[in-house]
């Protein structure tokens, strides 16, 4: 309960606005700039992939060539020159190290600076008594370390990089990769299918409750590099896993593209809790630089009584454009989406979710909190579709927007489509500002304005933040304060 107060205190003590903006000086091996079939082949070769994987990539690439970049979203951005980017960048330390002792010290140092524990006895920075967290650390295009693999293997849990999974567990990858987000799904997902480099793979066997949080930490380091990670999580019958994802990037003047695909599959009675704290470099206060975060995240609740819960805290990126979704196929399956999106200065975000109700008695819940400050513009876009057969389906959606200052904007666009009379769909939305009376009340109790705003905004987001695992919640609350620095007064 005291975590938010702590966050507020931290706000003041952190001097710079984006503390992850440093660059790791490490030798990087690049594939040549540009995108063509040879690059696709090269990536596949670097990853020592079997033929079927290469074929799938090429199919995607050829399809991508026929597609048009979408233009319907609210944030518009300058044309991306897909030939002027690197699609593969990896630290030049040879093969993936067998143990942490072999990891390049510069990388270890980087993750230490980012507060990510790569030594198994350590826990996330600064949180005492936090449970164990297994980490897959992805640096540019490769996974550099995965911790606790052995311990997890004892229970039959597979937690490794997707590249490794393609080699070691081809039957699972073949069965599920592209089964939720087909290679032809959309422009950026198709691009990702062609050139994805690394990301995490998780398989939780039947009846297993994963004994620790799994997490992947994505770091873009190299210049002019796109990051195309691919994550696939399968929760077999009756299993449970909580997965966390964090992202940062150095402060650079040019924009970098991050086009990830995440696929989740839950079978009967299984549950996946997927949490994201996205803190890619947002660009400077004039909108120069920053990451284009164009991501496709989708979950298939295939089994009956299965559940997927997305929680996202989006504070970074120049442009965020993503809709983590749930396809509720199994009867009684449940989809949840909890989101906090903060846009400050020149940041843009168009984010929300899709809940597709197919099975009977499926339930979904959407809680979205959008905060806009500075010159930022934010859109919540969400679809709730109740298909004909989804008898007894329920949806509840609440989306609240908070505007700080008079140069920002908030846009709420829910699409509600119901084809079943026994389904109940309920949507509520509000837009408001921080009340003068609230602010004065805090000031009268001795807080300064930034503290007061961080406190009030954390309160506004509370319903979402409290769904995060504890160690992430603390980090997220700090971020809320930091992201809004300079937005008042």
């Amino acid at each position: 309960m005291a975590a938010d107060a702590e966050a507020v205190e931290q706000v003041k003590s952190i001097g710079e606005q984006y503390k992850y903006g440093f660059v790791t000086d490490i030798e990087i091996e690049f594939a040549p700039k540009g995108l063509n079939e040879d690059i696709v082949r090269l990536i596949s070769e670097k990853k020592e992939e079997p033929e079927w994987m290469l074929e799938w990539r090429l199919k995607a690439y050829r399809h991508w060539l026929t597609m048009e970049e979408p233009k319907w979203q609210k944030p518009q951005y300058p044309a991306i020159d897909y030939q002027d980017s690197y699609y593969y960048a990896a630290p030049k330390s040879g093969d993936k190290p067998k143990s942490l002792d072999e990891v390049d010290p510069k990388l270890l140092e980087t993750y230490e600076k980012l507060g990510i524990p790569l030594r198994e006895q350590e826990v996330l920075a600064g949180v005492e008594g936090a449970p164990m967290v297994a980490v897959d650390a992805v640096f540019d295009s490769v996974s550099v370390a995965t911790t606790y693999k052995k311990k997890l293997e004892e229970q039959g849990i597979i937690f490794c990089s997707i590249s490794e999974a393609v080699r070691e567990h081809p039957e699972l990858v073949k069965q599920y990769l592209g089964s939720v987000v087909p290679y032809s799904d959309n422009y950026f997902a198709t691009l990702n299918s062609a050139v994805f480099t690394d990301g995490s793979f998780v398989y939780i066997p039947k009846g297993t409750r994963c004994p620790m949080e799994l997490s992947t930490y994505f770091r873009i380091n190299a210049e002019n590099t796109g990051q195309f990670e691919r994550t696939l999580i399968i929760a077999d019958e009756g299993s449970y896993v909580s997965y966390l994802e964090g992202c940062t990037a150095p402060q650079r003047d040019e924009n970098q593209l991050h086009a990830a695909v995440v696929e989740l599959v839950t079978l009967d009675d299984a549950e996946i809790k997927y949490s994201t704290v996205q803190n890619w470099y947002p660009g400077d206060e004039n909108g120069k630089g920053g990451i284009y975060n164009f991501v496709t995240k989708r979950a298939a609740c295939r089994g009956k009584n299965s559940k997927v819960s997305w929680t996202q805290v989006e504070t970074g990126s120049a442009i965020t454009w993503k809709y983590p979704s749930c396809i509720l196929q199994g009867d009684n399956s449940v989809g949840e989406f909890y989101s906090v999106a903060i846009t400050n200065n020149a940041q843009l975000a168009d984010t929300g979710t899709k809940m597709i109700h197919i099975g009977k008695n499926t339930r979904s819940r959407i809680i979205s909190k959008g905060i806009s400050a500075g010159n930022a513009d934010q859109t919540y876009r969400g679809l709730v579709r109740i298909q004909r057969g989804a008898s007894g389906a329920r949806n509840y959606t609440q989306c609240d927007s908070l505007l700080i200052g008079d140069k920002c904007g908030a846009h709420t666009v829910p699409y509600i489509e119901s084809q079943n009379p026994s389904a109940q769909v309920e949507h509520e939305a509000t837009t408001s500002s921080i009340g003068d009376d609230q602010l004065f009340y805090c000031l009268q109790r001795g807080m300064d304005e930034e503290e007061a705003v961080a406190l009030i905004v954390n309160g506004f987001c509370k319903e979402v933040l409290q769904t995060l695992p504890m160690e992430f919640a603390v980090e997220a609350q700090k971020l809320v304060g930091i992201s809004l620095e300079g937005s008042v007064g």
């Binding site: 609230q438 001795g446 406190l455 309160g459």
Partner: protein, 251 residues
Amino acid sequence: MALLEIRNLHATVDDKPIINGLDLTIGGGEVHAIMGPNGSGKSTLSYVLSGRAGYEVTEGEVLFDGKNLLEMEADERAREGVFLAFQYPVEIPGVTGITFLRTAVNAVRQHHGEAPFDAMDFVKFVREKAAGLNVSDDMLKRAVNTGFSGGEKKRMEILQMAALDPKLAILDETDSGLDIDALKVVADGVNAMRTKERGLLVITHYQRLLDYIVPDHVHVLAKGRIVKSGGKELALELEESGYAEFLEDAA
């Protein structure tokens, strides 16, 4: 040196004069009551002293502990020791009472060069303060004032006062919306905080509150000025005679 010295204070709201030449001096350990009819400027005075935006001082000066109070921002005044118990305490959804209080108390402590409380110590600290005020842990875990009854809100105000330990506390119509039992709890809480150093400014429309928080001085405010001052018996007089005579006098 007096704790608070108000000299010839004039203040406007939306360019409308509300306070028109007010003088008042409060010494350490003194309890002053300001009474007056609706619209006489009572609440405005509390906002002017606490530095709310939109309340403009056009003339006069206010010294607090010898410092120019009017030069300070609202939060600075709070950290220097001016506390306002609001007539209508504000709801802050999602922020628990304990978090709110700890943030405030630590801001004040750091201002005075003291170490901030950590979470555990703070809980102990607040529980002690809360015990006498009938404020339960449950109330502290709920969002600030959200869904509180009138009595709960006022008890929460007094708890904040106790926790922040101000030099000067201004109670703005603290009796409004309270039944007699709730009023007693609140008054006991306030009385427990009467010390030789602390000044209290009790703003009220009715004499009732002053049966429980007995003032040293009573002032009648009408049309933005103090028109009569006296001892605690003045409050009883007012109860008998009402404010009519002062409205005419001041006109």
